[in-house]
Symmetry: C2
Subunit: 412 residues, 2 copies
């Protein structure tokens, strides 16, 4: 007997028929003797509709009221899921965030969970009652509804699993696991059966969109094994058909490089001809950080003309206008040329094995060079190497790296 | 400065545009210096959609989960209304039933309000913050969401008005007041500017569908003046454009008969040839009451053949099958013939003035006789006379009575 938390995302509870399919899976887990807590998202399209209502009335809506409106989507699914389970003879009840309660801070629209009060739910689970929790929502200390931000149901699931000391958290979604890279680019991409938290965190940060970065961080910190699996397949979580994100020690077979991630959402910005004096970097990146702009890769070029240099960095494309505004507002950079290149892509290799294997970067650079791919910026961490390249080389580079590190499926 | 509670029904908050119109009205009340609490229903069609989801998954759904699902409709409108008010520069916040809390019993699906905790809301109103309360919902002592049954938002409004000791409760709907009878049958029907609780209660019970019987009962008991008015007109509640339901003493101009009500929803049932022995009535109506069948008019015919009689009564058409089943289950009536006549209608005249005026019933019967309308059953109370007639005579009878008691509009 295990205690498991299972989460169904929007496509897995798209309509009443899909809710019934999801309930079937939960029923099979219960039949195995497990204690099950279920987290549900809103039905397909519901959240967008609710957000649209708020925006129609006022684009400057009060975030507290927005949360009240939007959180209703998960409330509906939670009640319906409880009904679908009861129909199958399973004792079940819905829980709203405020009923548990899931206490969050008061940063409405993107609140963080501070505390989950579990005794009542644990008692309920002990009575073989499935707990169906509305995802994506919490309640402040002064009793207002909060939402955890888009994708917040994953966070709810992992946080609840941690609070309940669950054996596993299964995230049902529309893909059947984490792949060595996007199979649409590399058809031979292999589904990874186990991956470490650290690697998953890098992959999620670097562009793999299956799991939210925040929920992976929390799983890592709280040591909650998380499985990504498809709600459209026949298998259930306890069959372990998906990708299990877990601690390094639990992974038997370790590759040097686990996956190749990429993103096209970043742009390259070059601030040309800044004075190469101490503190110039902090005078550029301080104000950008204050404006909540996430700068990623940074390169400072060799000084030229004795005292001038160029500063190159990457940031989300959506922040370009804001970045130009922030920089132009500084007297020091007012007259500097700002070059923006959106025609770039970032490709990264990730793997915990890098820590103990030399030559990984060399293999990467050689593979790219052989295909004639020019590297514009490089950044590294202990378990990843990222390169910025021209966007037209993206697919070529991903395929080359996937092959160079032997990530293809084993021959059948 | 007054404290008023205003309630907007489904058609008055049908979509975001109608919510904005409703917010305009509230803004005008606030501009007059009033403290305002707003009760909202769900947007048009939303409740039906949510009920349909529950039924699709399981017709035997758990009422607790049904309430959780269905109550979300008002939650959405409450948040949107708060946003629409804030957009107009008015301080406002939404309140869910559990946030107030509005404590109800645990009869899910048709709960009754036991207590409304008002200190926080009164403080909020005192700070010139409009309170927007989700109608139709409460919370049990063990923190589960309840709904008050269809039309329950009127009950929420009146109960809140009583708890807040409000000066008036305005019920915005799609009609502009209570009429002397249905204007579709009598085009000269007059809008009543003031009507007593007792009369309104009779009219609501007898078929006038504008206000829920339960909310009128509560207004009567708690002495809350309730105004019915249209959200589609330009006027706001403080202009007193609608019909004010209030205590008798506050009504200056009193008619003998205030209105003519009617219903086609009842059927006449005759149990033929029952033994005319003591207690036969209780042996018929006791089991029907136990089966929650509301019997309305009752006539016991003169005994014939020495010891047999016929018992005639009316009840809602929808309960006919159940009634036959209940009666046939009694050995005493197993072999009695049960005649059912659905081709009937009940017409009633209502007026507090009847108490002090003799001859009202006579005027009624004469008016009907002159039109050749045969009366099948009669029942009376202190302030009403009801007659059961053939359904085809309904319109004729209503027009005749409306004229006989001089209820037409005053000539312009």
């Amino acid at each position: 007997m295990a205690r498991i938390v299972v989460k169904f995302g929007g496509t897995s509870v798209a309509d009443t028929a899909r809710i019934e399919k999801a309930a079937e899976k939960v029923a099979r887990e219960v039949a195995l003797g497990h204690e099950v807590a279920v987290i549900v998202s809103a039905m397909s399209g519901v959240t967008n509709q609710l957000v649209e209502y708020c925006r129609t009335i006022s684009p400057m809506h009060d975030a507290r009221e927005y949360d009240t409106v939007v959180a209703s989507g998960e409330q509906v699914t939670a009640g319906l899921m409880a009904i679908a389970l009861q129909k199958r003879g399973i004792s079940a009840r819905s829980w709203m965030g405020w009923q548990v309660p899931i206490v969050s801070d008061d940063v409405h629209g993107k609140a963080r969970i501070n505390d989950i009060n579990t005794p009542d739910m644990i008692k309920s689970l002990g009575n073989k009652e499935v707990a169906v929790l509305a995802g994506f929502q919490g309640v402040t200390l002064d009793n207002r509804i909060t939402t955890l931000g888009r994708g917040g149901s994953d966070t709810t699931a992992v946080a609840l699993a941690a609070a309940l000391k669950a054996d596993r958290c299964d995230i049902y979604t529309d893909v059947d696991g984490i792949y060595t890279t996007d199979p649409r680019i590399v058809p031979a991409a292999r589904k990874i059966s186990r991956i470490s938290y650290e690697e998953m965190l890098e992959l999620a940060s670097l562009g793999a969109k299956v799991l939210q970065v925040r929920s992976v961080e929390m799983a890592y910190k709280q040591n909650v094994p998380v499985q990504v699996l498809s709600s459209f397949d026949e298998a259930i979580g306890s069959d372990l058909p998906g990708t299990l994100v877990t601690k390094e020690d639990d992974i038997m077979e370790q590759y040097v490089v686990t996956g190749v991630a990429f993103t096209k959402d970043e742009a390259k910005v070059t601030l040309v001809g800044v004075l190469d004096t101490p503190g110039v970097a902090s005078r550029i990146f301080g104000p950008l950080a204050d404006a909540a702009i996430n700068v990623d890769m940074i390169v400072q070029n060799i000084s030229r003309d004795g005292n001038k240099t160029d500063m190159t960095f990457t940031l989300p494309e959506t922040d370009i206008a804001k970045t130009q505004e922030v920089l132009k507002a500084q007297p020091e950079f007012k007259d500097c040329e700002i070059r923006v290149d959106e025609n770039v892509a970032k490709v990264s290799i990730v793997g915990i094995g890098m820590r103990s294997h030399a030559g990984v970067a060399k293999t990467m650079f050689t593979a790219l060079a052989e295909k004639g791919v020019n590297i514009q910026v490089i950044s590294t961490s202990e378990i990843k190497v990222s390169v910025l390249i021209g966007r037209e080389y993206l697919e070529l580079a991903v395929r080359a790296l996937h092959a160079a590190f032997g990530l293809e499926k084993a021959a059948a």
